[in-house]
């Protein structure tokens, strides 16, 4: 069953919820819609890392964030399809965007021996019109509120990135961070995903 209103509970990991709540409190004034003296529109992003860079997706496009469940590999599908996973009875495809865009994975952080580090990753469940798809990210995704004006719609250096500019909504600059804002719907509707090799 679809849970449309399931944006900020359910599968979201505890940390994420706390972070998001903290964020919302911090930005309390901003997130209140329709303040007459502050007409500037806000954008709520879920921010995560691919390779060495930060990427963001508008929260409206994210149904939930969850610890990646066990993914069943599907032989003879493209490499960027990690497989299928059971998320509360919905069986969805799980995609690896690093593979998909040919982004070099970040160098592994070497952990001192004896440290308890589980190989945990997170899955953003993206809800498209009539289906959902999972996107795996390695670190805990963060929630971020910023004003629309912080997103530069037409950055000139896009040709250098590995991701086709069609999928990029813009580049956000927050403090010293640079966040590439992706339009997931465009990625999902891209022909190459729709027409997987048979």
């Amino acid at each position: 069953m679809k849970k449309k209103s399931d944006k900020s509970n359910g599968g979201v990991s505890e940390e994420v919820v706390e972070q998001r709540e903290a964020e919302q409190q911090a930005n309390g004034k901003d997130s209140d819609a329709a303040k007459p003296y502050q007409p500037e529109a806000m954008v709520h992003l879920i921010v995560f890392k691919l390779g060495e860079e930060s990427y963001g997706i508008r929260i409206e496009q994210v149904k939930e964030v969850t610890v990646t469940p066990s993914v069943t590999r599907m032989p003879r599908t493209p490499k960027f399809i990690k497989g299928v996973a059971n998320i509360r009875g919905d069986i969805i495809a799980v995609m690896d965007l690093e593979q998909r865009f040919g982004i070099r994975p970040a160098a592994m952080v070497t952990t001192p021996p004896g440290t308890l580090t589980k190989d945990i990753s997170y899955t953003l469940v993206i809800e498209a019109k009539d289906y959902s798809i999972g996107v795996v990210v390695k670190e805990v995704p963060q929630s971020l509120n910023l004003s629309v004006s912080k997103i530069d719609k037409a950055p000139s250096f896009l040709q250098d990135t590995t991701i086709s500019e069609n999928y990029i909504e813009g580049i956000a600059k927050v403090d010293s961070r640079l966040i590439i804002v992706l339009d997931m719907f465009k990625i999902l509707s891209a022909e190459e995903i729709k027409a997987l090799p048979k």
């Binding site: 069943t72 590999r73 599907m74 599908t77 059971n86 495809a93 289906y131």
Partner: protein
């Protein structure tokens, strides 16, 4: 909430389509036995209802045409109008027009009915002295009849689809609770869980049962279709329907509708010979076609048999050789069943001439795909001058299938039992490397086998399907599957039990992957991939070299 108008309209259309089918059935019967009052009374009643209902809802064209037909039939009943050939043609056309009007109720593009046809109807209704009737031949505008089954069984089918999906979810949870209760070994939980098991099983069967319709709802459309093809091709046929009461899932029936129409048309068009030709062969002038349904455990078997000229094996072989599906030498030694399976190859058609009713480039491959998509099987049997039999083995219900569970490279897979032939355990030494493939002898039959791990997971460029060293362990578990009369042994890593599974379709963007028929959730919550046997077979054939 639906508006009452909308509800009325849906009911009207559903009922009107039922009436349309029944009218066709009865008029075909009446044509054979004009003296029989029974079909005439029924036709009368149906037209009468159609007229009244259409008038009430405001579809005046339908009520007008129904009224004219009703008048014509009342004249026939009172013997004021003879049931002559010209009259019959006009009446058939009139009933077709009704069907067309009903189907186009929601179509704003639909213009006006053919005026020639309306005029013909007026002529037979008004001109009682039929000496001077001048009926204009109506151009057949509606040769490919779009058959649709009613969407209403007093409840919308999508509601039943939804219920069935929910039952599927429930069964998965039930199995999960069952396995947890066994793990915990808690007596009360075990007893509750076994009760839950029985109830969900009952519920599942009730929902499946609610979706069943009799195959007659589809079969009854065929007397008219067969009659039209036969009359266009100047053939005489008798179509016998058997087992109309056999029950099957409504969606399965909808999916095979076009296929069955295709097969019936083919039978009349290509199977049955012209009357003179039949006489020369010492057969009755009237060709016989039997469309029969019967139940066989969880399946419904539909057979379509004709006593026509049969399929010419030599011609099929020649066509297969010329299309390079097989070498000329190999064709010589081929068994009939293998020859016939070529007919299911994409685009393979023997029709020399394109007639109005068949041979329009739609091959049997399309039929086969439709039947494959619901996990059914189709086979042909044919003997020269004796006739041809098509056998369709269809599941009674869509969702729950018996399947064989197994593991390859730590991934769970299932294959529907419908496609499994047998399961054998065999020593590695009994497998032989022959050329680029592995073969073995199973009960006297030489069967090609393939290691699924290699087929599914090896790099395509380095795939070595004929290499025994790839196998793990000494004893190999082999599942023999059949597809299109070909057998293939699949070597799996671990073989599990047989189980009823609820196949969920894959959602986008994975929904058009051939290799997988869907997925299912195991009691443990693990995802299990359901392999499509036809795709696996094709994939194997394409990768052997």
């Amino acid at each position: 909430m639906k508006s009452r108008e909308q509800e009325y309209k849906e009911i009207f259309i559903a009922e009107a389509l039922e009436y349309f089918d029944a009218l066709n059935r009865h008029i075909s019967a009446l044509e054979k036995q004009p003296q029989n009052d029974q079909p005439l009374a029924e036709i009368f009643r149906l037209l009468h209802n159609l007229k009244a209902n259409a008038k009430a809802i405001g579809y005046l064209q339908i009520s007008d045409v129904s009224h004219k037909l009703e008048t014509a039939f009342s004249l026939i009943r009172s013997k004021e109008l003879s049931f002559s050939e010209e009259v019959v043609t006009v009446l058939f056309d009139g009933i077709d027009l009704l069907g067309e009007l009903i189907r186009n109720i929601d179509n704003p593009e639909y213009g006006e009915p053919d005026p020639v046809l309306l005029r013909n109807l007026d002529i037979i209704v008004d001109n009682l002295s039929d000496s001077a009737i001048e009926l204009t031949k109506v151009q057949k505008y509606n040769t490919s009849k779009n058959l649709t089954l009613s969407d209403l069984i007093y409840i919308q089918i999508k509601k039943l689809d939804h219920m069935l999906n929910l039952v599927g979810e429930l069964i998965i949870d039930r199995d999960r609770i069952n396995s947890i209760s066994r793990e915990l070994n808690h007596d009360e939980l075990k007893s509750v869980s076994s009760h839950l098991y029985r109830i969900t099983e009952d519920l599942q069967y009730s929902v499946m049962d609610a979706r069943l319709v009799s195959v007659g709802t589809l079969f009854n459309k065929f007397p008219r279709i067969a009659r039209d093809v036969a009359s266009a091709e100047k053939k005489e046929i008798n179509l016998e329907l058997v087992g109309q009461d056999i029950q099957i899932d409504r969606n399965i029936l909808q999916i095979i509708t076009d296929s069955l129409v295709h097969l019936v048309r083919n039978s009349v068009s290509h199977g049955i010979e012209k009357p003179d030709e039949r006489e020369k062969k010492g057969k009755s002038r009237i060709g016989s076609i039997v469309l029969a349904a019967r139940s066989d455990r969880d399946n419904v078997i539909i057979t379509l048999s004709d006593d026509g000229k049969g399929i010419d094996m030599k011609q099929v072989k020649r066509a297969a050789v010329s299309r390079q599906l097989i070498t000329e030498d190999a064709a010589k030694t081929l068994q009939d069943s293998d020859v016939l399976s070529f007919l299911f190859e994409p685009g393979f058609s023997l029709a020399k001439e394109v007639t109005e009713y068949s041979g329009r480039g739609v091959g049997l491959d399309v039929v086969k795909n439709a039947i494959d998509s619901i996990g059914g099987r189709i086979s042909i049997d044919s003997a020269k001058n004796k006739g041809t039999v098509f056998t369709l083995q269809l599941p009674t219900s869509i969702a729950v299938k018996g399947a064989l569970l197994f593991e390859v490279d730590e991934i769970f897979y299932a294959i529907p039992l419908m496609h499994t032939d047998q399961v054998v355990a065999m020593d590695k030494d009994e497998l032989h490397e022959v050329g680029d493939i592995l073969v073995t002898d199973i009960k006297g039959e030489t069967i090609t086998v393939v290691y699924l791990h290699e087929l599914l997971n090896a790099d395509e460029a380095e795939m070595r399907l004929g290499d025994k060293t790839k196998l793990k362990g000494q004893v190999q578990n082999i599942i023999v599957v059949t597809y299109n009369n070909r057998k293939l042994g699949l070597i799996v890593d671990k073989l599990y039990r047989q189980q009823d599974i609820v196949v969920k379709p894959l959602s986008k963007p994975l929904d058009n992957l051939d290799l997988y028929g869907g997925v299912t959730l195991l009691g443990t919550g693990k995802v299990c991939l359901v392999l499509d046997v036809s795709a696996i077979t094709r994939y194997f054939i394409n990768n052997r070299r």
